[in-house]
């Protein structure tokens, strides 16, 4: 199957890496089920890092995902 629109033309390894990143650092809220989809989590991340909120993976977003960082999520768990 082709990668979804949110993958923004990235490679499959980058897509998988992005999914893992968003699962770890932008977990969904079990009460509200907010940020359940990839697009919703990506928008949260883009908003946090003050990027254009598109919900689509782009090279700048991937660049931030690849930076060394703290292991604590960016949104409340």
């Amino acid at each position: 199957l082709p990668l979804p629109r949110e993958a923004g033309g990235t490679s499959e390894p980058q897509w998988k890496q992005a999914q893992d990143y968003l699962r770890r650092f932008y977990p969904s809220d079990p009460k509200t089920r907010e940020a359940d989809s990839f697009e919703a989590r990506l928008k949260l991340m883009q908003r946090f890092f003050r990027l254009p909120v598109t919900g689509v993976l782009n090279p700048h977003t991937i660049e931030i995902m690849q930076k060394p960082r703290c292991g604590v999520p960016d949104v409340a768990e």
Binding site: F48, K67, P68, C70, G71, V72, P73, D74, A76
Partner: protein
């Protein structure tokens, strides 16, 4: 800045800490100095002081570990995740862990600066979440800087004083 849900914080005015394990990348005495320096950055802004203990359980237990290390948040080898810490509370609460697979430095050689990382993690240990201000120490991604000019940003100070209040002069 952000705070954790339910805004956990230390209620005692003296918080204890203990370095339980060290990295071979830095002399032990240097690690102790840098941890003390990181804590001092926070304590000079709030009415909280820190006391180091050498044995037993402290409020904040600090250590280096690689891979899975018993807290369900395994480290991932060199790069990516450098460290993590827990919000104030009993047990794991307040504890700060650093990935032994990184090359830790005090600024005298290449590597991940321990002072910068420890100040960030100990911010979590005190109750701060991540900040979206790129100038803040609590910004989630690591950036190397000159450790001689390293200090808290106004956003960090505002956040920590929201939890603990200002230090009286």
């Amino acid at each position: 800045y952000s705070l954790f849900p339910t805004r956990p914080k230390w209620v005692s005015s003296v918080v204890t800490y203990r370095v339980v394990s060290y990295t071979p990348d830095l002399p032990r005495v240097r690690v102790n100095q840098l941890v003390a320096k990181a804590l001092a950055m926070w304590s000079q802004e709030i009415p909280l002081s820190f006391r180091r203990v050498l044995v037993g359980t402290a409020d904040i237990m600090i250590g280096f570990a690689r891979g899975a290390h018993g807290d369900y948040y395994p480290f991932d080898g060199p790069g990516n995740t450098l460290a993590h810490a827990f919000a104030p509370g009993p047990g794991l609460g307040g504890d700060a862990h650093f990935d032994e697979d990184e090359r830790w430095t005090d600024g005298s050689r290449r590597g991940v600066n321990f002072l910068i990382t420890a100040t960030h993690e100990l911010g979590h240990s005190l109750g701060l979440g991540h900040s979206s201000d790129p100038k803040a120490v609590m910004y989630p991604t690591y950036r190397a800087g000159d450790p001689r000019n390293f200090k808290l940003a106004p956003d960090d100070i505002e956040g920590i004083q929201k939890l603990y209040g200002e230090k009286s002069t």
